[in-house]
Symmetry: C2
Subunit: 357 residues, 2 copies
């Protein structure tokens, strides 16, 4: 196994090719440094991805895993209405990867995926740490963002009467996970047969394109970086969160932080087409989609008078944007309701539960 | 097992008791936020501690583990000459801890240790993440610091002719690790019999106090926060690193970054008394001490004319400070030399190798 130092040096060479405004010192010292500026705020988020809890190597191609590791944290910064600037990455690498002959190719792919997304959003990798792990791979992804002072969009700003919006569609990622756990694979898995435990299987049944797209939604999500940043800069939203625990759960987080309630329209929620791979029943599809999780879409509340501007912004970002409900006074023990044919019922809040742990 | 949300809330309540200048938003949203200021720089470091690679639960009392998790990252910020401000903590918690009845007490102790050190240096915990882990405990410790723009002390600033200094003494931590791996335990291990796999053993042989002090040096190191910060503020050092990989290795890092060489005086290196528990031979003690690692002392180079001021600063911080050598032109493939009785020999650079992985 190349030493920790060799490995860090290889990443450092990749990282050195990046540059970023206000970066004083990147990888290679006891700490990284960036310049501060009055009237600006720094933001930080960290996301832990653990093998066999958050992903399985048998279905996650290294390139997509690297991409997703950064994507989940970029999504958090986008959900604050801020711009991502710097990232750090911590890896605990199990010995079995270190021992297998394909290790270097795996990690090259992992970092190709990571740097592909970093380059897209001009994020510079400025630090991290590596340890060997006794058993499983764990990835800790840290992203630092910036915004104008006071412009960050928090969870606690939802106002009664706000309209509720969500970008893109909901449920494809959960459908993809279900398919993967059921043994479905896509060509990308086959091509990148680098991780030793990878057992590729050709897709069967359903529409291949829909299967591929569901699996991709789960394994290589696209964070809404540009839309989130501009929403913050323009001050168009009162509260925001990214959909990681499931739309129902995440809307409940907003309600709890803002001390409000919410109602969502059953027929308005943009359920991803891919959910039809899992169920054709409309009720089941709705419940599956709103409790699925890892959609990494942006869920936010805004004054209804901003809607034209919001739709224009979404259009500019080539994103679908849907108004799905309204913020209410908090009056019930259950914060989130569903309205269907004029009747409201409490929405069962079920978070994303990884693999049932 | 209480849900991830319950656990985060319990930590959040502890963290909410803290306050910090320039903190806008702590734990509880997609990201934490702090205000920037012109003329200032932010610094960030991250350190990963993995069970059975970096520590063993059978000898690490939870309280000390929490303390050390923060200490290692505070040490990095001190080694940049900066002041620590905020921290984040990521935990992957194995199911066996979650399953055992003592879990809550363990984690209360862990966070007592963590917050004890945080309070001492006014560091506010502002974020983190938690996942269950399939097997081993892993801790990712992140600390953000600040300094005046341009004041950070880097590895690459060593100048030919600089004197080389180290705080405290070297080798006690490595001696402590060796004793622990040999089965020695101290009373603190016995008292905090919280982690299920803890197998306390009374200390035998040697001086109990020395054994305790060696084990404490390894399990509950004291980062040189105040000294490091003031060294940076006063601009007294040209380069600095903390001793985590071993003095020889860390001095080599400075030499490599600064493109210089170095000579250390065999008789000047402040070898900790505790090293005598491991060997009585002077040559062996020297080699053990300089290649031991995890001392978390500060190793720096400075203009000799600053020595009076440096010694006064160390005195103010109740720290021993020793001049151990001198920065040379880089002329040999081996950067670091040892001088003994006027004769110089290359110093074998051996890093800290965890448990031989």
């Amino acid at each position: 196994m190349p030493s920790e130092f060799d490995f860090i040096k290889a990443i450092q060479r990749k990282a050195a090719a990046q540059s970023a405004a206000d970066l004083v010192l990147g990888i290679g010292d006891d700490a990284a440094i960036w310049r501060e500026q009055s009237g600006r705020e720094s933001l930080i988020t960290v996301d832990l991805l653990v093998e066999d809890v958050d992903f399985k190597l048998e279905y996650a191609p290294p390139r997509w895993l690297g991409y997703k590791a950064l994507a989940v944290s970029l999504s958090d910064i986008a959900a604050m209405g801020a711009a991502p600037k710097f990232s750090l990455l911590t890896l605990s690498i199990p010995r079995w990867i270190a021992d297998c002959g394909l290790r270097i190719a795996d990690w090259e792919q992992f970092f190709e995926g990571y740097f592909e997304l970093a380059a897209k959003h001009r994020v510079a990798l400025i630090g991290g740490d590596i340890s060997s792990s006794p058993d499983k791979l764990a990835i800790d992804s840290i992203v630092i963002g910036q915004c104008q002072a006071g412009k960050a969009v928090r969870r606690d700003g939802a106002k009664v009467g706000d309209a509720i919006y969500v970008t893109g569609s909901i449920g494809a990622s959960a459908a993809g996970l279900k398919l993967l756990l059921g043994g479905e694979r896509v060509e990308e898995n086959v091509r990148s047969s680098a991780f030793r435990r990878l057992k590729p299987q050709p897709p069967e049944g359903g529409t291949t394109n829909a299967i591929e797209s569901a699996i991709r939604a789960h394994l290589k999500p696209e964070p809404r970086v540009k839309f989130g940043r501009q929403l913050g800069e323009l001050g168009l939203a009162n509260s925001m969160i990214d959909v990681s625990d499931g739309l129902a759960q995440d809307l409940a987080h907003i309600c709890e932080a803002s001390n409000v309630g919410a109602v969502i329209e059953f027929d308005a929620v943009p359920i991803a087409e891919e959910v039809s791979l899992v169920t054709e029943n409309a009720d089941e599809a709705f419940e599956f989609a709103v409790s699925g999780g890892e959609d990494f879409e942006l869920l936010f509340t805004a004054d209804r008078s901003n809607e034209t501007e919001l739709m224009a912004l979404a259009d500019d970002c080539q994103l679908r944007l849907t108004r799905i409900g309204e913020v209410l006074e908090r009056s019930l023990p259950v914060a989130v309701l569903t309205r269907r044919n004029g009747e409201t019922t409490p929405l069962l809040v079920r978070g994303y539960d990884h693999f049932g742990i």
